[in-house]
């Protein structure tokens, strides 16, 4: 057979012409996506990258004490350092005093070990009275902590330009003087508890949402249209209502003199002068989050159940299964994609929840997001806030990735 090329009307071989058209279409599609893609990339993805960068960046202090750290390179950190280290420290500190920039290292060193604050302040005050030579002795004379291994070791620990210390702190670990990773003292282990609580709340909220959402999604999917549309409002109205409105309605309901407590007293479960605390603890967080996130579970379940033909259940029953067996063997397996979508969605949202726990959670009901916000706005330890954020982000993205594998991100349905 002859391999004669097919030509298009303008004389170019069809294969080439087609390829050209394909490429043009590809470029056109890419150009349409480009504005949003670049916008998200520059204003969103890169800043998140910068945040991750900030969590390991420790260059500020190495820029302020360059000579000290250079001299410390030769020091093995087993015994107190020799004279050259102190001489370098003297030079660095005098320069910092001259330029009045020592404030920053005080904060940084105090994160590393408390006690550095007074140490540096006192030393800087006296540094211009130092005489030449024998700096080690003079330093120790100003403050005895300069002669203690804990402080000198801690100082050396701040030398590397990049550090994972903030991540270690986020899981209650730290570097000791020999740069070995150890657990922090028992009474200061707060972050593991916080992570566990966040995980627990997210898991249980997901479970509660699933248990509550499954029957009503089923009802909505099986009722005739005119009834289900009416009932759907009960799901969609909270969905469209401001989060703060819903949280404030829970604050009204759960407060000490609120309707739920009135009911409890009226039922005789608790005495009037001994009303239970329903708010500012983990109970409040649970109840409010479950109600607020329930629509996110109902909607994916509903959209899957809507596609299941009722004849399948009838077929199951006619083949001799009891309704329960038919449900378990036929209906339930068909709803699994919806369950997966709803559960992962609720889990992802609840693990990073901020507003509701902050308002109704109190101290014992606050989650990891609240701690991140605290370090961003109050303690101003931005590097630590970034590290906690990065850890949370990794967790969420893992779940997101699983979600994408199982459900496919284009299968998300809204309303």
């Amino acid at each position: 057979m002859s391999t004669e090329q097919i030509l298009s009307s303008d004389g170019i071989p069809l294969a080439i012409s087609l390829k050209k058209a394909e490429r043009r279409n590809k470029i056109r599609a890419a150009l349409l996506v480009a504005p949003l893609f670049l916008f998200i990339l520059f204003v969103y993805v890169f800043p998140i990258g910068e945040m991750l960068f900030r969590s390991v960046d420790d260059r500020m202090i190495s820029g302020m004490l360059p000579k000290t750290f250079k001299a410390m390179e030769k020091w093995d950190a087993k015994d107190l350092p020799e004279e050259p280290v102190y001489a370098a420290l003297y030079e660095d500190l005098s320069y910092l005093k001259e330029t009045k920039t020592y404030g920053k290292i005080i904060a940084r060193l105090n994160y590393e070990k408390s006690g550095f604050s007074s140490l540096i302040k006192k030393t800087v005050r006296k540094v211009n009275k130092f005489e030449e030579g024998n700096y080690k002795e003079q330093f120790i004379k100003v403050h005895k902590r300069w002669g203690q291994m804990e402080y000198m070791g801690a100082l050396k620990n701040t030398a590397p330009k990049w550090t994972f210390a903030k991540y270690l702190k986020g899981v209650d670990l730290k570097f000791d003087q020999e740069r070995e990773i150890i657990q922090v003292p028992e009474n200061r282990r707060i972050y593991k508890i916080l992570w566990m609580r966040t995980l627990n709340v997210a898991l249980w909220v997901t479970v509660f949402c699933f248990v509550l959402a499954y029957p009503i999604a089923h009802l909505l999917a099986t009722l005739p249209m005119k009834y289900s549309n009416l009932l759907m409002i009960c799901v969609l109205l909270p969905f469209w209502t401001s989060l703060l409105v819903r949280t404030s309605s829970w604050m009204v309901l759960l407060q000490q003199q609120g309707p739920i407590n009135d009911l409890i007293v009226w039922l005789g479960i608790a005495a009037n002068d001994n009303r239970p605390e329903l708010m500012y603890n983990v109970i409040g967080t649970f109840v409010a989050m479950t109600q607020i996130l329930l629509p996110f579970m109902v909607l994916p379940l509903y959209s899957v159940m809507k596609t299941i033909s009722p004849t399948l259940m009838r077929a199951g029953k006619s083949l001799g299964g009891t309704p329960f067996v038919a449900f378990r063997k036929v209906y339930f397996p068909l709803t699994v994609p919806g369950i997966g979508a709803g559960c992962l969605l609720v889990f992802i949202i609840s693990i990073g929840y901020y507003i509701t726990p902050a308002l109704v959670g109190g101290a014992s009901g606050s989650l990891i997001s609240n701690t991140i916000a605290y370090h961003m706005k109050s303690s101003l330890d931005w590097a630590f806030a970034s590290a906690l954020g990065a850890m949370l982000l990794v967790g969420v993205l893992t779940v997101y990735w699983i979600y994408n594998k199982l459900v496919g991100i284009d299968n998300i349905k809204l309303g």
Partner: protein, 284 residues
């Protein structure tokens, strides 16, 4: 859902239990919203159902908290409402345009790396707001847009676009591309085709995406908490501040207004969804 007459008693019982459970869940979903309505008309200062209110005595009710909301001295709600509307308006426009255009590209079968690009564009919806807030704050502070309307609007465009992309892509999946080809073969240029043929058909999806973007922006607290200065306070921020101090009846009045607004949005969204399904020829 009436049962056939021959249904055995135990199934009958189970069926009514199931309906009761469903009823309770629906109650749990919707009832909290309705607690707020009567309390906003309370004549007293406390967030509590007074004896007069329970007795339906007209004296127990008043509009004083609505008056306080609108004319009250030193009240922040006027400025907050103005800011909220300005920010939500521009954020919606930005998110809708960027999102719709991107969705057009994404639903083309020629789009390279579709999955990865889609995942990236949807990510602002998935990443916890606290992380988005932190990252965007660092960025805006660096480029000098912190505590400006522009900064908040840009942030809200980011948060709103995933919704537009999702709804418009969903509308486009049922889209019959032969109509655009027909337009092209009749000599229409792509822009003209889009404006005259594609857009009217996908408009319901675009508008419902825009509604999502609007609500996202109007309701957003976390990112604004990081970005806003005193001048850029919004309604959610004022509610947040108010709720942290104490529950005041004025907040209940504001909340009632917001519930009314969300009801309107719900009705609009529902009408649009039905119209969209009709246009795409999905019969149920």
């Amino acid at each position: 859902m009436s049962l056939p007459k021959y249904t055995p008693l135990n199934y009958r019982l189970w069926h009514y239990t199931y309906l009761t459970i469903c009823g309770l869940v629906f109650f749990f979903l919707i009832a909290p919203l309705f607690v707020i309505l009567p309390l906003s008309f309370n004549a007293e200062q406390y967030i509590h159902f007074s004896a007069k209110m329970l007795a339906l005595d007209p004296e127990g009710f008043s509009l004083r908290w609505y008056e306080d909301m609108i004319w009250g001295t030193k009240n922040p709600w006027g400025l907050a409402a103005k800011n909220s509307i300005i920010i939500a308006f521009f954020a919606t426009i930005g998110a809708t345009i960027l999102g719709t255009v991107a969705a057009l590209g994404l639903s083309s079968r020629h789009m390279p790396y579709k999955g990865a690009v889609m995942a990236l564009l949807i990510s602002p919806m998935i990443v916890p707001l606290i992380i988005s807030g932190t990252a965007i704050f660092f960025f805006m502070a660096k480029v000098g847009l912190a505590a400006t309307h522009t900064g908040i609007i840009l942030a809200h465009i980011i948060l709103g676009t995933p919704f537009v992309v999702i709804t418009v892509t969903a509308t486009l999946t049922g889209f019959d591309h032969s109509v655009t080809r027909a337009a092209a073969s009749l000599g229409s240029n792509p822009v003209n085709t889009f404006m005259k043929v594609t857009l009217p058909l996908i408009l319901p999806g675009v508008i419902s995406g825009a509604l999502f973007a609007f609500v996202t922006s109007f309701d957003e607290v976390v990112v604004v908490l990081f970005l806003a200065g005193l001048e850029n306070t919004t309604i959610p921020i004022q509610m947040w501040v108010g709720l942290r101090e104490q529950l005041s009846p004025t907040i209940m009045a504001v909340a009632t207004c917001l519930i009314i607004m969300s009801t309107l949005i719900l009705v609009t969204a529902e009408l649009l969804r039905r119209r969209s399904e009709r246009l795409r020829g999905i019969n149920r």
